[in-house]
Amino acid sequence: MKEKHIEKLKEIVGQKAVTTEVEDRITYSFDSTRLEYLPDAVVQAKNTQQISEILTFANEENIPVTPRGAATGLSGGCLAVKGGILLNTVHMNKILDINPIDLLIDVEAGVITEEVDKSVSSYGLFYPPDPGSLKSSTIGGNIAENAGGLRGLKYGVTEDYVNGMEVVLPTGEIIELGTRTVKGVTGYNLNSLMVGSEGTLGIVTKATLSLLPKPAARASLLALFDQLTHAAQTVADIVSEGVITSTLEIVDNVTINAIEDYLKIGLDRNIGAMLLIEVDGHQGAVDVEAEIVKKVAAKNKAISCKMATSAKERDALWAARRAALSSLARVKPSTILEDATVPRSKIVQLVEAVNDIAQKYDMPIGTFGHAGDGNLHPTLLTDLRIPEEEEKVEKVIQEIFEVTVKLGGTLSGEHGIGISKAKYLSLEISPEVFDLMKKVKRTFDPNNILNPGKMYFDD
């Protein structure tokens, strides 16, 4: 970028909101993948108009622009792979309107996920998508990655809650997509296309999100199993009994040991797997469903299946599940969190395959995740400072993806493709579909200035 470009940016957003100093650029060069790409300039945007002016100008001058939320992404989406402008959206963090009758909330894109939920709580409402990163991540980032969470099985993912949005196109136009209604079929559903587009089709500036009434009651259960296969079978059986739990999380033996090392809460280190299950709804339904869960677990040889009897006990269960990734992160210096997702009926095969791969390459892998969604997080534990490890990691990931696709699954359930999974796209997506995606990208962004270098669209 040239001096005159920087000057122009300063004209648009003000002197203080633009920096080209290396100290700043370094801190905007990473996300939670820990990959690093230095942008040429970092810009703090305050409103839609500024973003529109920036994109208009960048499009004319052919300067790459990469939108960034809280940089908790796990696929490198907000990294300025081609340099240029790194556009920070977190200052756009106002909650604009809450409408408890229409069950809608209007927010700016930089609002932190948890804030959405907190701000509607007093109305007896909640915002269901709850990614593990919800205390830091932004709604813009959640929309761009179509983030999921622990409640996905019953409540779905971000996509299911985005009614509409304001978007700035790569060419600078400000458009509105979606509706404020429960239904809407006027034209192509570009609103949905934008969800999960990883910041490559437009920059989301505002969003209209839908809300739900808080369930009246909930019950949390913890089931322990000798063998992982029994736990996985329980997952499948609970659903086929007609119980759609709000949470159905699995934690394998490696992860249980890591949690015990970290929290020392008296988990049995020998158990093969545990399930954390939550049912919610009206008290009557909750009681019935909890009973069914217990029966199914017993039928599948659960060592035990206990319901939390107090808020304190429930919090303890959740703390253990939430500590899964943290605990694994303490085992080795580098943790690589994958996101393979298979049909629910194939979970056992996936976990067994992952264990075989772990043995074959002698690389510890802890697996936990949203079993009810078939979405697992095999987590590679390694030290990337050791030269050979990187190559090994590549091979392990390649093999995990190969089985995933073979089992009818997908490379990423919720973390996105970005750069870290771009090279595996062809495992899942046919050349025709890939080509179609490229055309969509070119239609939105003829000069390929918005978040270039992602999903390998331009190579």
Partner: protein, 395 residues
């Protein structure tokens, strides 16, 4: 310039730096990030800069230094970090390196000079260090400075020189009198504990103060040192063993712990106070020294008190903005952190917020005053010693 990269303090923290996964959990709790929304001053942002230096990608610069010092040293990031990175220790090491390479805020030179010449953090000479005693009815300084005593009350610089916080040491000596404790002050013989130097990265200077202060306590043949300042407490309790040449062979208690002890021994009798109060955990007492329960026990032992917790409490407590010398480097930022704290306190709907730190009392007090118009009712800001004295005096 750093003379030798291998010899920097942060190079010893190489593994820790690498352990940060950049997960961003720490953003949610960092008081600086919550105000600035700028990655360049977040906990993980700071780590990325230190890693860049360690890897030789860049050198210590003034700009980098500003970013590292833009921190209240509240330690919230460490508590939140799933990977177990000890961030505050890393930031302390970085500050040592920054001082070594002469890249630190100019204002710290002033601080160093003031402490070296006046033995305290203010512009005043140390002679007036115990002037706060004068306003206590019937009290004479001579009576409070003895040749030897069981307990030394170490008031600390801020409470000794900042009139707004005089009520803390005044309350304490009155309580000690009331409880018939054999105590002494050090008067103008009390020197700064060294905390401001330590947290700025000036360890060598702090060592001299440690040696001096330890010798003074020994002269008094005291069995115990008590202090009302959490930073003094932290420094005495957790760094003097390392800094001081002489062994620290007396007990060190924060006033909240000491009050609990003498209450349990029945040395003070409390009258009811009918009010709803909450407690603010000072960073240096709570997160940094692990003292959470004693202040709560003291408060709740006052009859008639309705006690409520703040939304974020104990290890998760929000910082008031008063730490890490931030106030002298970026007063506006420190003030905005304090305002956020004040808002949390206002939400708790209490009559008073109790703290156990003169710095917190000052910053929170100022912030609540600024918010006066928005508040449903006036909220008092008291130190724990003030609360107990009011209860003892029955008013």
């Amino acid at each position: 310039m750093v003379k030798d990269k291998q010899k920097t303090k942060i190079s010893l923290k190489k593994d820790e730096l690498f352990n940060c996964s950049r997960c961003g959990n720490c953003l949610a709790v960092c008081p600086i990030y919550k105000q600035e929304l700028d990655e360049s001053v977040t906990p993980r942002g700071k780590l990325s800069l230190l890693e860049a230096v360690d890897k030789g990608v860049m050198d210590f610069t003034n700009r980098l230094s500003d970013k590292i010092y833009t921190c209240t040293m509240c330690n919230s990031c460490t508590v939140e970090c799933p990977s177990g990175v000890a961030l505050k220790e890393i930031f302390e090491a970085a500050r040592l390196d920054l001082v070594d390479s002469h890249r630190y805020p100019e204002i710290l030179d002033m601080l160093k000079k003031r402490i070296a010449e006046g033995h305290n953090v203010t512009f005043d000479t140390n002679e007036g260090r115990a002037d706060w005693v004068k306003q206590i009815p019937g009290a004479k300084l001579e009576d409070m400075i003895k040749d030897s005593a069981e307990v030394v009350y170490f008031a600390g610089c801020v409470s000794s020189f900042s009139p707004r916080t005089f009520s803390i040491p005044r309350s304490i000596v009155q309580l000690l009198d009331q409880a018939d404790i054999d105590f002494t002050l050090l008067g103008d013989q009390e020197w700064c504990c060294g905390f401001p130097l330590l947290s700025s990265g000036m360890e060598e200077e702090a060592k001299k103060l440690a040696d001096y202060n330890v010798a003074k306590i020994k002269e008094k043949k005291a069995k115990m040192l008590i202090t009302s300042c959490p930073s003094c407490y932290h420094t005495w309790k957790h760094t003097y063993a390392r800094l001081s040449t002489e062994a620290v062979d007396f007990e060190i208690l924060h006033i909240s712990q000491y009050l609990l002890k003498i209450l349990k021994e029945g040395k003070l009798s409390l009258n009811p106070l009918h009010m709803t109060v909450t407690y603010h955990d000072p960073c240096d007492l709570g997160r940094n020294s692990d003292v959470y329960e004693e202040p709560r026990e003291v408060i709740q032992s006052v009859p008639g008190i309705q006690y409520v917790e703040l939304e974020k409490n104990r290890a998760q407590a929000n910082c008031c903005g008063g730490g890490g010398n931030l106030e002298s480097l970026d007063a506006d930022l420190a003030a905005s952190i304090a305002l956020a704290k004040a808002a949390e306190i206002a939400d708790a709907n209490v009559d008073a917020v109790i703290s156990a730190c003169q710095q917190c009392e000052r910053t929170i007090g100022t912030a609540l005053k600024k918010k006066k118009k928005e508040l449903k009712k006036k909220i008092k800001v008291w130190d724990i010693s003030e609360l107990v004295l009011k209860s003892v005096q029955g008013k």
